[in-house]
């Protein structure tokens, strides 16, 4: 009984709203755009942050990445010998780190060298990455075809190479090219596998891989390419000596990441004269990205909320006009025996219906706009259930808040005056 009565009241409200279709539609637009912009803005914010979070997560939240960099004052330093700069992490650094900290699971060294590679007719400069099998597991790279490096490869100094999907495509290599020979510089490697590439920027750090990497056992890289890289430049040759280009340290647990990173930083500061390394912690970036996301959402949400507020004021304005217009009707209803609260609920139901329907249309709009953004601008967007529920809640609340004053005004109409109202 109570439910059917509510349903009847809502139907009556809808009927009344349908009497003035254009007015109802225009009033509703305020809420439609308000809710639409809330959902759309939150989805853009959510999409941007989820992309960043996803990429940061791919680097691994337990990992600490130490990268060799050329110190700024290097040019004038004593380490400069015959146009050769010596910097970066050393094999000893790795050993020291492994021996000093017991809260780490493993360290994965990385050597990188740019080499001209050739597969049949195709030539391409690849970044040859010498590393351990653990690299693929640590960075969660999926195998597309073949296999990744194995411990046996490392031990046997096997001349094998794993390509990225992107690099393989550039070299016209496909699954059936597994087993064929890739010339890297002046050496020959057997292609044993292809992994998915995840290159690019994650948040504001460079991912440890690039799109066109070729992974070889680190022992082989060290033996065949050495520690000295020569690059041609305007004035002749630049030579760099770097033992390890990168060291990925996996902490034992997520709680150890920050303390281990601090320890490594202190240790490296003691053993390195210059700051020729950089420590980045995906976990810290993850936290930062989450904080940024919150701020972003608050700012975007507030802007959208203002448009919703404007929509609400629009509703209030129209409902006040409607109350004035229907003063006589209110008088009649009161004379017949309607109580004040019945008049209040009549008008309140109308505004809530108005704002809820507007809100639902707005959600549709708010889901369509992100789709357009993703389709045309390629920006990732995510419409979360939370933002949809939030918007429905807000639009009902807008109806209640902005409908209450007109409804109370309606209920306080003096029936004697109202009955004479023209």
């Amino acid at each position: 009984m109570a439910r059917s009565k509510t349903a009847r009241n809502i139907l009556l409200g809808i009927e009344n709203l349908l009497l003035h279709k254009l007015r109802t539609f225009l009033t509703m637009l305020g809420v439609v755009f308000g809710v639409g912009s809330v959902v759309a803005m939150l989805s853009v914010g959510e999409g941007a942050s989820q992309e960043a979070l996803e990429q940061i997560r791919k680097i691994g939240s337990n990992n600490i990445i130490v990268t060799s960099i050329k110190a700024a004052e290097d040019a004038s330093s004593s380490a400069m010998q015959a146009n050769m700069s010596i910097y970066g992490l050393t094999y000893n650094d790795q050993i020291r780190i492994e021996e000093t900290f017991n809260r780490i699971r493993q360290t994965v060294p990385v050597k990188m060298v740019r080499q001209e590679c050739r597969l049949g007719e195709r030539a391409l400069e690849l970044r040859v990455v010498g590393t351990l099998p653990a690299w693929f597991e640590l960075l969660q790279r999926d195998v597309v075809a073949g296999r990744v490096l194995t411990d046996a490869d490392i031990a046997n100094l096997a001349g094998v190479v794993v390509l990225t999907e992107f690099g393989a495509r550039k070299l016209l290599a496909a699954e059936n090219t597994i087993g064929s020979t890739l010339r890297v510089g002046s050496s020959y490697f057997e292609i044993v596998g292809i992994v998915r590439s995840e290159g690019g920027l994650a948040g504001n750090i460079q991912m440890p891989d690039e799109q066109i990497d070729a992974y070889v056992p680190i022992t082989v890289a060290r033996e065949r390419f050495g520690d000295i890289a020569t690059t041609r430049s305007a004035g002749g040759y630049n030579r760099e000596m770097v033992q390890l280009h990168q060291l990925i340290v996996e902490a034992a647990s997520i709680d150890d990441v920050e303390s281990v990173a601090k320890g490594i930083e202190a240790m490296l500061a003691r053993f390195h004269k210059k700051e020729d390394y950089r420590i980045s912690i995906p976990l810290a970036l993850l936290r930062q990205a989450e904080a940024t996301k919150r701020t972003f959402n608050i700012v975007l949400g507030s802007i959208a909320a203002i448009s919703l507020l404007v929509g609400g004021i629009g509703i209030m304005n129209i409902m006040l006009a409607s109350v004035t217009e229907r003063t006589r009707e209110i008088g009649v209803r009161r004379a017949i025996g309607a109580k004040r609260r019945q008049i209040i609920s009549q008008f309140l139901i109308e505004t809530i219906v108005l704002s809820t329907v507007g809100g639902l249309i707005g959600i549709g709009l708010g889901m369509f706009i992100p789709w357009l953004i993703t389709y045309f601008a390629g920006m990732p967007t995510v419409v979360t259930l939370k933002s949809v529920l939030l918007s429905v809640g807000i639009s009902v609340a807008v109806g209640m808040v902005f409908g209450l004053y007109p409804a109370v005004r309606a209920a306080n109409v003096d029936p004697i005056v109202a009955l004479r109202h023209e």
């Binding site: 017949i336 025996g337 309607a338 109580k339």
Partner: protein, 236 residues
């Protein structure tokens, strides 16, 4: 049929005892009703007459529980309404009274059926039951065929008949009519008055405000008011 103050008040559907109504208009007090005592009995048909400012409208508002007395007692079908709160007064209007207005006061966006059903809606009747009642009442006032029309599609006389049907929906003992023929031509007005006469013969107590003598002639009793007081009472 009417009695002097304090006498034989048992059995009266409406009993006013020394009712006063005072308005503050600027700095002056206006005594719209200055001590009115009268009782109406079941089956009475009263006309209230008087020049404008005589207090007849205030009288009808008080009788209709739309306004509260400043002092004095008003007992309606055994309920002392002079001290009631707003919600209770609404309830009295809903259960005991039916209103007929000069300008019909139908709700323009609702169909005839829905206008007639309005009191039943507030009484909480089920949809089917009130629809059946609306059909019955429309038949009573001769508007069976107009149930799904909007008031704007009806003539003045038809609109007033809808208003009468609406006033009867809650089956009240008392009908209050405020110049029911004021907006109608005399032939149509007579039809409306005949309907009221018929209802009165069926037992309804009718109180009608009018300023036209020939309209008042349809009532059994006529109450003349002047300056907020009862001037004279006439029997027809």
């Amino acid at each position: 049929m009417h009695t002097a103050p304090g006498e034989h008040r048992n059995g009266a559907v409406i009993a006013l005892n020394n009712v006063r109504k005072t308005y503050q208009m600027g700095s002056t007090l206006v005594h719209a009703l200055a001590g009115v005592s009268i009782s109406f009995y079941p089956g009475d048909f009263w006309a209230i007459m008087g020049p404008s400012g005589s207090g007849k409208s205030t009288m009808l508002n008080i009788l209709g529980c739309l306004d509260r007395v400043t002092s004095g007692d008003y007992v309606l079908e055994g309920n002392d309404v002079s001290t009631m709160e707003d919600d209770a007064l609404s309830d009295v209007r809903l259960r005991h009274l039916g209103f007929i207005f000069q300008s019909f006061n139908l709700i323009p966006q609702l169909t005839v059926r829905r206008n007639i059903e309005l009191p039943l809606y507030y009484l909480g009747w089920e949809a089917e039951r009130s629809a059946a009642r609306a059909v019955e009442l429309a038949g009573l006032v001769g508007l069976e065929g107009r149930l799904n029309h909007k008031p704007t599609e009806l003539s003045g006389g038809q609109m007033q008949r809808v208003a009468i049907a609406r006033a009867l929906a809650n089956d009240p003992q008392i009908l209050l009519a405020d110049e029911p023929t004021g907006n109608l031509d005399s032939a149509t007005g007579d039809q409306i008055l005949n309907i009221l006469g018929q209802l009165n013969r069926e037992g309804k107590t009718i109180v009608m405000v009018t300023h036209e003598t020939h309209v008042a002639a349809h009532a059994k009793h006529c109450l003349h008011m002047r300056d907020g007081k009862i001037e004279s009472i006439e029997e027809n």
